[in-house]
């Protein structure tokens, strides 16, 4: 698998001036909205601690909670399936669709289904998959993955959407009025809900106590997908478990405030069993989660409730866009979970970070994101997956800086001042540092020289 080059992808993103300006401004605005909501609740930090503690408890007893969920859900009339990985998940979905004669599937947003690459799998087997979330639909019609887990088309401007829709659903290419575009997608999608053989959703939370799963949306597409066709399939990552209904009070209060700066999503739905004459199937998916559970430094990442707050605050994400990470999960959370999927392919991602730490502070479940980024960097080095240039530079730097004599000699040898010091810190300094910045001026004498001259050999 080709290694993702985040820096290369980011330079293309930055070159599109109008797009990057909007992208950065829009997501920073979501970050500010989150701040307003958080500041308005005196109990915000307490809620974060509770959310984190509930998740950590649940993960430490996950097997019991999974069994409890299965037992309650089954008693309510749900069918529970288990998938080791994405391939098994996709096969289960296809088998269910086939056995029900469903050739069209309407689905609401589920990052898990993207992770499993379900769409192409089904389409290759003759199933028409309709993404119903507006942002996901734009991306599907444009043959691009979603770029943000909450606002999938945030990197596009209305003109881009007008182009995509005019190509695919027959809108007027000259009309980029947002209300017109949204209404067009509403009208185009509606017949699919009415005729689809099956509907699919993800789940934000799965409650073990009652066998309930919760789907939080704003558009109404999940409930249309679930309540019209006779077959409802829900894909749920095993880490979505929480113990009790009352725990939802904490998570539902935090999710939309963190994601969009609104107190709750317009629709918060709780599914506990099929309606009469219909079937409800849940697929509990592992796909590397049980393995990550055993990683002492990284299992906290399983607490994630997919709010996207880390992406909104991340200055790197806002200026490079989700697609530059080359993975289903991007931004800070992506940077710490993608290497667990494929270390080599995603070995540049933990370096797409300044370790500024604001992601850790906005995370509603207190994932220590920036600390995990630091730890992944150590692992990537240990497994010899650093780019050769960087490793060599660090090796040389390490040797020079371990010896005062060599270091002094190196500084003195640099008549121009900037020659040697940056060379071991920076590969090809004049190409990288100096591309868009002035280089610091070399100095005739160092601080140490001054000290020796003015304070003597104390």
């Amino acid at each position: 698998m080709k290694r993702v080059d985040h820096a290369e992808a980011s330079s293309k993103f930055i070159a599109a001036k109008e797009h990057i300006e909007f992208h950065d401004m829009r997501l920073w605005d979501l970050r500010l909205k989150r701040d307003r909501e958080a500041n308005a609740l005196p109990e915000w930090e307490q809620l974060r601690s509770l959310a984190s503690a509930v998740k950590e408890h649940t993960l430490s007893h996950l097997a019991d909670y999974l069994e409890q969920f299965e037992s309650r859900a089954t008693a309510n009339g749900m069918r529970v399936h288990w998938a080791r990985d994405g391939a098994e998940h996709n096969q289960i979905v296809f088998d269910l669709l086939s056995s029900h004669g469903a050739r069209t599937l309407v689905k609401s947003k589920s990052m898990l289904t993207d992770e499993c690459a379900m769409g192409p799998f089904l389409e290759q087997r003759g199933v028409e998959v309709i993404e119903t979330d507006l942002g996901e639909r734009i991306q599907q019609l444009d043959k691009e993955p979603p770029s943000h887990i909450v606002v999938p088309a945030v990197h596009k401007l209305r003109g881009d959407v007008a182009q995509v829709f005019s190509r695919t659903i027959g809108t007027d290419p000259k009309n980029s009025d947002v209300a017109y575009l949204a209404e067009s997608q509403r009208r185009h999608t509606r017949p699919y809900y009415l005729s689809a053989g099956a509907g699919m959703t993800g789940a934000n939370f799965a409650v073990a106590e009652t066998g309930t799963f919760v789907v939080c949306t704003n558009e109404g597409n999940a409930d249309l997908s679930a309540n019209l066709p006779k077959l409802h399939i829900a894909s749920i990552g095993i880490e979505k478990m929480i113990p009790r209904i009352e725990d939802l009070g904490v998570f539902v209060r935090m999710l939309s405030r963190s994601a969009l700066g609104s107190p709750i999503t317009q629709i918060t739905s709780h599914f506990r069993g099929p309606r009469e004459g219909a079937e409800m199937h849940v697929i509990l998916v592992d796909n590397g989660r049980s393995e990550r559970l055993g990683m002492a430094d990284f299992w906290y990442s399983l607490k994630c409730i997919r709010c996207g707050a880390c992406m909104n605050t991340c200055p790197v994400y806002r200026r490079s866009g989700g697609l530059s990470y080359g993975a289903t999960y991007s931004g800070p959370i992506g940077v710490i979970i993608d290497p667990a999927f494929d270390l080599r392919k995603y070995s540049s991602l933990p370096f797409a970070s300044t370790l500024n730490g604001s992601c850790t502070n906005v995370c509603p479940v207190k994932i220590n994101i920036h600390e995990q980024i630091y730890k992944w960097r150590q692992i990537i080095n240990e497994r010899n997956m650093l780019p050769m240039a960087k490793k060599q530079a660090m090796r040389v730097a390490g040797k020079v800086l371990a010896s005062p004599k060599i270091y002094r000699a190196a500084l003195q040898a640099a008549n121009a001042g900037i020659e040697y010091l940056p060379r071991f810190m920076l590969y090809n300094p004049l190409n990288a540092w100096g591309r868009q910045r002035e280089v610091p001026k070399g100095r005739k004498s160092s601080f140490r020289d001054w000290y020796l001259k003015n304070r003597g050999k104390k």
């Binding site: 300044t354 390490g398 005062p404 868009q436 100095r443």
Partner: protein
């Protein structure tokens, strides 16, 4: 109280006046300061690049150089943060633990240990954009970040606000990262430069004449950006302002 002065490699090489100001300021405040001559680096550039193995030599040297002092003080928040949080490539002997625990960034040393707030010799009649580097802000808790509600304590501001004539500009995004990030500045140059451009433009639009910080690394990056953009902004380390620099 014996204080060892640690001067980061890039300050030693490119901004010796910052080291001079730090030393003079501590001496003015009555502190006995020595600069161990055999120091090099705290190990951060290598460790942050994932190469803790390559940081070991510099870290071992750091511990050896500063073991004999009550405190180690440095005009660099990111270096102090690295020493306290990540100087783990060396065995954690009693000596290493003591050095790590007693390593302070300059402002936090003055604010928390010396408990000084007044600098009667200082005068800086300029409009200043205060930049608190991310490791200094979120790692050393120099202030309360905006995503945690802002307000509350602010150590560099507490020291600067008593300086005669000083005025503060209010940028739109006071604590968004400026994009230096160590080797990030080179290996993720496109985003790093864009972040730096945005940062200095924000300060310029807020009317800042100078950008002041506890971290010369951030300032070095921002200075490089501002000069390329021709913004006319000036950059100065907080040690220089508190030590009485007029410009």
């Amino acid at each position: 109280m014996k204080v060892g002065l640690f001067i980061p490699c890039y300050v030693d090489a490119f901004f010796p006046e910052v080291g001079v100001a730090t030393l003079e300021l501590l001496e003015r405040l009555g502190v006995e300061v020595r600069y161990p001559l055999d120091q090099t680096c705290c190990g951060q550039p290598m460790a942050n690049s994932g190469c803790e193995d390559d940081a070991a030599g510099a870290e071992k040297l750091f511990v050896r150089n500063f073991a004999g002092f009550d405190y180690t003080v440095t005009p660099s928040g990111s270096c102090a943060h690295h020493v306290r949080e990540h100087l783990t490539a060396v065995p954690q002997s009693a000596k290493a633990k003591k050095v790590r625990k007693h390593t302070y960034e300059l402002v936090e040393f003055i604010h928390d240990v010396l408990l000084v707030r007044e600098f009667p010799w200082a005068k800086f009649p300029h409009k200043v954009g205060l930049h608190i580097g991310c490791a200094t802000l979120r790692g050393l808790h120099a202030a309360v970040p905006s995503e945690l509600g802002g307000g509350g304590h602010n150590k560099p501001l507490a020291l600067l606000s008593k300086v005669k004539g000083i005025k503060f500009a209010a940028p739109a995004r006071p604590d968004e990262c400026c994009g230096f990030g160590g080797t990030f500045s080179v290996f993720e140059e496109p985003v790093s430069a864009k972040m730096g451009y945005d940062k200095v433009t924000d300060h310029k639009n807020a009317g800042a004449e100078y950008i002041v910080s506890q971290d010369m690394s951030c300032l070095m990056h921002q200075k490089g950006c501002a000069e390329r953009l021709g913004l006319g902004l000036k950059f100065i380390h907080i040690a220089q302002v508190l030590n009485g620099a007029r410009a």
